[in-house]
């Protein structure tokens, strides 16, 4: 394995950490739009307020690990996705600030509450659209993007993946609410979660089937050799979806373990990443930019691996500690165990 492959693993790890961690709090943000009960919305805001900034710091590390390790990717793909990434940035700022302001003043939640929800929804949609725009292919000439501002749409394919990302995050948000709350909030989360599973399954299947039509994806000759990765990824994805559906239990009957939907959502994320990676590798920006053609020179990657790569486990450790400090349910009413 080359150093560039190793650093790509670091990039994918940052991506995974970001979509898993910010995914659930974006999802909860979207769900606040559909809950009319002010007390429940407050509970949801509180659940996100703890750790959203730590979650978002993975987005910064993702951007920087990609840029420093694969400058050609950052130099071309970001400009190609300008129309969708800027709204994502606006949404993330507005949503973070509105969350801090909701609790500052009586009555402010009426204004900042919906803004928080809409910001979460738009950020999620834009991330999915950016993903779809990227995997369907972006024309690159030399070291520059060679398309127009709306090339990434691919006749609406990016809209489909945007909606699918919204469903994925709603699933993650429901799973997290199911784990961290009790009573009515938890029961509603279970029902929303089940709906999200169905829509996500449909969205994923459609995205998968339409990908070859929408874009310029060409399979690497080595892709068939990675068939086991495909099969494992697809199985994990399908099993995760199925298990999420059955482990969300709106009615509490007998003993249960509230973390199952969260584990199922993690399986969905892992399966999705394995499938995408198995399909694309070694391409990063289809059709032509690969891990190896985009990589920084050896000395840069070595510096990164030692200087930044070694700090990632430390960051993981103290973030885990942060989650450990805030473990347990937020809802005061006792949960049947």
């Amino acid at each position: 394995m080359r150093l560039s492959d190793g650093w790509m693993i670091a990039v994918v790890l940052c991506l995974a950490m970001y979509i898993v961690l910010d995914g659930y709090d974006l999802g909860i943000g979207i769900m606040t739009l559909f809950d009319r009960d002010a007390a429940r919305r407050r509970e949801m805001h509180g659940l996100v307020a703890w750790l959203w900034d730590g979650n978002e710091s993975w987005l910064v590390l993702l951007a920087l690990s990609l840029w420093s390790g694969f400058p050609l990717v950052t130099g071309t793909a970001l400009a190609a996705l300008y129309v969708v990434l800027f709204p994502m940035l606006w949404s993330l700022i507005v949503r973070g600030v509105s969350l801090e302001l909701i609790g500052q003043h009586d009555g402010w939640h009426r204004v900042w509450g919906p803004i928080f929800g809409i910001g979460s929804l738009l950020a999620a949609f834009c991330q999915g659209a950016a993903f779809g725009g990227l995997v369907a292919g972006l024309p690159v000439h030399g070291a520059n993007f060679a398309g127009g501002p709306f090339t990434f749409l691919h006749h609406g394919y990016a809209v489909l993946t945007g909606l699918t990302a919204v469903m994925l995050y709603v699933l993650a948000g429901s799973a997290w609410l199911y784990l961290k709350t009790a009573g009515q909030t938890q029961r509603r989360a279970a029902r929303t979660g089940r709906l999200a599973v169905i829509l996500l399954a449909a969205g994923t299947a459609a995205s998968w089937l339409l990908a070859p039509i929408a874009g310029s994806v060409t399979l690497d000759p080595g892709a068939t050799a990675r068939l086991p990765v495909w099969i494992a990824g697809a199985s994990l994805l399908a099993a995760g979806l199925a298990y999420a559906f059955f482990s969300f239990r709106p009615e509490s009957r007998g003993p249960r373990f509230d973390a199952w939907p969260t584990f199922a959502a993690l399986a969905v994320y892992a399966g999705g990443l394995m499938l995408t990676g198995g399909l694309l590798y070694p391409t990063v920006v289809p059709p032509h930019v690969t891990v190896h053609s985009a990589a920084s020179p050896h000395s840069s990657l070595l510096f990164l691996t030692i200087g930044v790569g070694l700090i990632i486990p430390v960051i993981l450790t103290y973030q885990t500690f942060g989650y450990w400090v805030f473990r347990g349910k937020t809802t005061e009413e006792a949960t049947p165990v």
Partner: protein, 460 residues
């Protein structure tokens, strides 16, 4: 709309987002050091008033840090969004430096900030002190890596060009590039001074309102004590920076700072410059002083004219000329205030000179303005290059449509104005409310406190 419009819009967008961002680190670097002082004094003296002061400034630190984070996310993406070719060409060097900033500085701050803000009651005093020091170290490391990256753009070193891309051949040369040391010192001092005036201004407000006087006294005493050393020192570092780096590596910038079209021993104080000469539209000259600036008191050394630089390579005179003057005269004003502060302290009148408190309150944002002025000078002074002498800015911009950039820029302006308004509102509210409990109210422990105060103000 043309490529030039798109390029200009992209530059304006970067200038706005970077200026907005730098405001918050500028305040948090110095505030974090004040937090260390407060907590160290609390651990040593067990005086609750220090703890109350610690909590008060921690609140202001926290919101500044949060806005610094969200505005920093925008900058990290803008490298690729607006400056795609730059991202590709310098990624192996600048990308790595900024990744170091994120990996070490940013995560150090973010990781320990949680303990600093929410840890009370959960962790012991030593751990709290440690967390405060780590957050502060994070802010300083952050300045370090950002200055490595930006100084490399001013004085690139330790690289080779491969198909246009800058690739590192010697990391020591890259990191310790010719302008890094002096520019790092200059920026770190600037940040500490900006925070010093921010703290002194808020403390003065309490004096004017006659509230929370012990907090105000400590704040004012520590801030002015530190400033009495740093502001004169900054004068020395600033002039060293001009001679060792600006004159040597960016002579065109130096000419634009002087803003003269005819060789003259005078100094242009104010002017309406004409970008391509042959003379300024209007200028107000102080005779002899130009020669003095050049180090010749006899008044016979003329300042070279702008016509030495070809029109195409001449950076914009107007922003450089005034950016530098905002910084320099801002510093001069701060120096005067600090000198007056020392005199008042020696005569024991520091805490009851209301006119001085009013002056300091008015000067609260002056350090920030000076930082903006300095950065405008440095960045505009490097034009038309993005990597000095190597990569033209016009070639580094992403191939975007002007409408895309105009839209993103307009929305960002609206969002940032709201954010800035929110920040000012939040700080004003925190200041109006004052520290949470009444420990800081005047009491018989004043004598003990003033002793602690004397210990905490090393410079006075």
């Amino acid at each position: 709309m043309s490529h030039t419009t798109m390029l200009d819009l992209s530059r304006w967008q970067w200038a706005l987002t970077a200026a907005f961002h730098v405001t918050f680190p500028a305040i948090t670097v110095g505030t974090s050091i004040l937090l260390i002082v407060c907590y160290a004094m609390y651990m040593r003296t067990d005086d609750q008033a220090w703890l109350t002061m610690f909590r008060f400034w921690r609140q202001i630190f926290g919101i500044g840090f949060a806005i610094g984070v969200v505005s920093g996310i925008v900058l990290t993406f803008e490298f690729g969004l607006n400056w795609g070719r730059f991202a590709h060409d310098v990624g192996p060097i600048i990308g790595v430096m900024i990744a170091m900033e994120v990996g070490w500085a940013f995560f150090l701050e973010a990781g320990f900030l949680g303990l600093l803000v929410y840890g009370e009651g959960r962790i012991g005093r030593r751990m709290m002190m440690f967390a405060t020091c780590m957050v502060s170290l994070g802010t300083v490391l952050s300045v370090t890596w950002i200055m490595v990256a930006n100084s490399w753009m001013q004085t690139p070193a330790g690289y080779k060009r491969v198909h246009g891309q800058f690739q590192p051949i010697n990391w020591v040369d890259v990191i310790f590039n010719p302008s890094f040391g002096i520019r790092f010192a200059h920026m770190l001092l600037a940040a500490l001074i900006a925070a010093g005036f921010f703290i002194a201004g808020i403390s003065s407000w309490y004096f004017l309102k006659r509230r929370h006087l012990p907090l105000a006294r400590r704040g004012l005493s520590i801030a002015l004590g530190v400033l009495a050393v740093l502001v004169p020192l900054q004068g020395y570092v600033g002039s060293e920076q001009v001679t060792t780096y600006v004159l040597k590596y960016k002579p065109a910038e130096a000419l634009a700072i002087a803003g003269l079209w005819k060789p003259s021993t005078g100094y242009s104080l104010i002017e309406i410059p004409r970008q391509n000469g042959p003379k300024n539209i209007w200028q107000l000259t102080i005779p002899w002083y130009g020669s003095e600036v050049a180090g010749d008191l006899s008044g016979n050394t003329p300042t070279p004219p702008l016509s030495l630089v070809p029109n195409k390579l001449r950076p914009k005179v107007l922003p450089i000329f005034y950016g530098f003057r905002v910084m320099f005269f801002g510093w001069l004003l701060m120096l005067l205030a600090v000198i007056v502060g020392v005199f008042l302290r020696l005569r024991g009148r520091l805490y009851d000179s209301r006119w001085f408190h009013r002056l300091l309150l008015a000067m609260t944002p002056l350090g920030i303005f000076a930082i903006w002025g300095g950065w405008v000078t440095a960045e505009e002074g490097r034009q038309p290059w993005i990597v000095n002498g190597q990569l033209p800015t016009a070639a580094a911009v992403s191939p975007l449509h002007a409408w895309s950039v105009l839209t993103s820029f307009t929305v960002l302006v609206a969002i940032y104005l709201t954010l800035l308004g929110t920040y000012v509102w939040y700080v004003a509210r925190a200041v109006r409310q004052g520290p949470g409990d009444s420990v800081l109210g005047d009491s018989e422990t004043t004598a003990i406190r003033s002793q602690a105060l004397a210990e905490a103000a090393p410079a006075s």
